[in-house]
């Protein structure tokens, strides 16, 4: 890995340039009267149909998590990493149920963020602040994961491999500055338009990979056989087997709760909600829940690239040479099994596949900060133009916050960055999703339930060492639950604590007749659809 392959590098550079130009040009796409308004900068004008939304949501949800983190986990521990498949299966029916309600109420009341909704529903600035802060904090490790993904490609390409710490990270920083610049200019239109390029590259690279690589490695039977044999061997670092080829009984709870917790958490992330709110109609969301699984198929196949990497001696050697960094397994697989020009396309798919969601994530976090922290607590009279300016600036700060996570947390398995975000963001579920159906929960009970779960989740995650490094922290995302005696994803345990505290305290607070706050939404808002039900205006004659 000492010298740069100029063919691959040139292809990556050219494609990166195309994406950059597209990102800047996106400001002119579906041109708005005034881009400096959060509905425009932050939600792309709320006018995306089924087709664009499919690309935007796909570009948004399938990230370096899919292309780097999941295959790295499969490479390292085997079956346990495959939980991402059930996760991306069950997320769609779950979202199918509640997302249209959230879309309708947001459209009827002009909400831009999930915290806007919580504020309107419960009449509580404090609860809205908790939701907004959680969204921002949870997004940062998720953006950090995108950075790790880009970094692993650059490492394999030999770009920035020097002893000078500044030069080492320079390419990554340049890529990020350019991303920040066009996000700043074009807002959500930039990732929506570049998502087309991203998805084309991703589908191309992955379809070719699963057709071409197994043939070169001696077929699927050989790949599964090698993986199975390797995972059963003892890892000298931990004294236990590397992993398991099929989830063992002791791992079943962790497997199922990682899938369920991740699925419940995904559409609580501000960037996922942004993708939902940017759609044109209710039906667009449901239709997308039926066609988005196409990306899950890609995710499943990419996960299996982890096993292909295990079957290639050149890749396992390369991973060991970099101190056992499993994140390199897919880029190394491309490097050793593709001709250099196609490896360049594969690298581009990963890098651009990380940049597009990172843009959406930073926009969504910026919307949250502007609407629910800046305007709410610092400047109540900010004009729409001023708000959009603040959001632009915050989108830069969020990316810097993500860098902190990159450097501060162990990178044995980068998937833990996303799972840590999941622990936090899932705790907004009761206020948002349950709130879409009932006002029974008391706003203060929700705040206390959230607080208890956040403390438990953070402390428990802190206590998990990385495998083979007994004194490290934030190295895992599952922990044994005392009464149950099973290993469970910390997010799910914290979620149960959250619900129990909220329910008990709601009963207490209601009995004590504590003020419940004003609800500005009406039941009809939750079913509003501009096509059949012109938003909250009255005096429409009853139909049929």
């Amino acid at each position: 890995m000492s010298h740069v392959n100029y063919v691959s590098f040139t292809i990556l550079l050219v494609l990166f340039l195309v994406v950059t130009l597209t990102g800047f040009a996106a400001a002119r796409w579906r041109r708005a009267e005034d881009l400096l308004h959060l509905n425009e900068w932050g939600l792309g004008g709320r006018g995306f149909g089924t087709f664009v939304s499919w690309f935007l949501l796909g570009g948004d949800l399938y990230t370096a998590y899919t292309f780097i983190a999941v295959p790295a986990l499969v490479y390292g521990v085997g079956a346990a990493g495959f939980f991402a498949v059930p996760y991306t299966v069950i997320v769609f029916p779950i979202v199918f149920v509640f997302a249209p309600r959230l879309w309708s109420v947001a459209r009827a009341h002009d909400y831009v963020t999930p915290a806007d909704f919580v504020r309107g529903r419960y009449g509580s600035r404090g609860l809205a602040l908790a939701i907004a802060a959680t969204g921002i904090v949870a997004t940062m490790p998720y953006i950090a994961l995108q950075l790790v993904g880009i970094q692993s490609v650059l490492t394999v390409m030999g770009v920035g491999v020097t002893s000078n710490a500044f030069l080492k990270d320079l390419p990554l920083i340049i890529a990020f500055l350019i991303l920040a610049a066009y996000t700043y200019v074009s807002g959500l239109r930039a990732p929506a338009l570049t998502a087309f390029i991203k998805d084309f590259l991703v589908y191309l690279a992955i379809i070719v990979a699963v057709l071409y690589i197994p043939a070169r490695l001696g077929g699927w039977g050989h790949i599964f056989g090698t993986a199975s044999a390797h995972l059963a061997k003892t890892n000298p670092k931990t004294g236990k087997p590397f992993g398991a080829f099929v989830t063992p009984p002791a791992g079943e709870w962790a497997y199922a709760t990682l899938a369920l917790g991740s699925a419940l958490a995904l559409f609580m992330y501000p960037h996922a909600i942004t993708g939902v709110l940017a759609t044109k109609r209710r039906d667009v969301i449901r239709r997308n829940m039926a066609i988005l699984p196409a990306y899950s198929l890609i995710l499943g196949l990419v996960a299996l690239l982890g096993y292909m990497a295990l079957a290639s001696p050149a890749v396992t050697k390369g991973v060991k040479a970099d101190g056992g960094n499993a994140q390199l397994s897919v880029p190394l697989l491309f490097q050793h099994l593709f001709p250099s020009w196609f490896a360049g396309i594969g690298y581009s798919a990963i890098v651009i596949g990380a940049l597009v969601p990172a843009a959406i994530m930073s926009i969504a976090a910026a919307n949250l900060f502007t609407r629910n922290i800046y305007v709410e607590f610092f400047n109540r009279r900010a004009t729409a133009r001023h708000q959009a300016r603040v959001a632009q600036f915050i989108s830069l700060l969020v990316k810097i916050g993500a860098l902190v996570f990159v450097f501060a947390l162990p990178k044995t398995f980068s998937i833990n960055l996303q799972l840590l975000g999941g622990i936090w963001i899932l705790q907004t579920f009761p206020a948002i999703v349950v709130g879409l159906y009932t006002r029974w929960f008391h706003r203060w009970a929700l705040v206390l339930g959230w607080a208890a779960a956040m403390v438990y989740g953070t402390v428990e995650a802190y206590r998990q060492p990385a495998p083979g490094q007994p004194h490290s922290h934030f190295g895992g995302s599952s922990a044994v639950v005392p009464v149950l005696h099973q290993t469970v994803y910390i997010a799910v345990t914290a979620f149960v604590i959250n619900l129990v505290v909220t329910i008990v305290l709601t009963a207490v607070f209601r009995a004590a007749r504590l003020p419940a706050g004003a609800d500005e939404t009406e039941p009809s808002s939750y079913l509003a659809d501009p096509e059949t039900a012109p938003a909250p205006t009255e005096s429409v004659p009853a139909q049929g």
Binding site: G47, P93, W220
Partner: protein
């Protein structure tokens, strides 16, 4: 719009929608059911083949649920179209 259109579905339709949407959760979260190597599907061990097959399955189930829940477009009411605030 005194009664929102989605609410006017029959209980039977709602039951069907619930089953369609719940199926994949039960099918993929019950890990002991599929945590085994055999029977293989081609070269694919059961554990992997089974979960991969749920991906097209969930797409089809969600599409059926969408068809059931969808409000048919009313042809004769141009008034409701004009209100689309785009």
């Amino acid at each position: 719009m005194s009664i929102p259109p989605e609410r006017r579905k029959s209980p039977l339709a709602w039951t069907a929608i619930t089953i369609l949407l719940l199926a994949s959760l039960v099918g993929t979260l019950w890990v002991p059911f599929y945590a085994r190597v055999t029977p293989k599907l081609g070269d694919f061990p059961f554990f992997y083949a089974y979960q991969m097959l749920w991906i097209p399955a969930v797409a089809i189930l969600s599409w059926l649920a969408y068809l059931l829940i969808r409000t048919p477009k009313r042809t004769g009411s141009p008034a409701s179209r004009r209100d689309d605030p785009r």
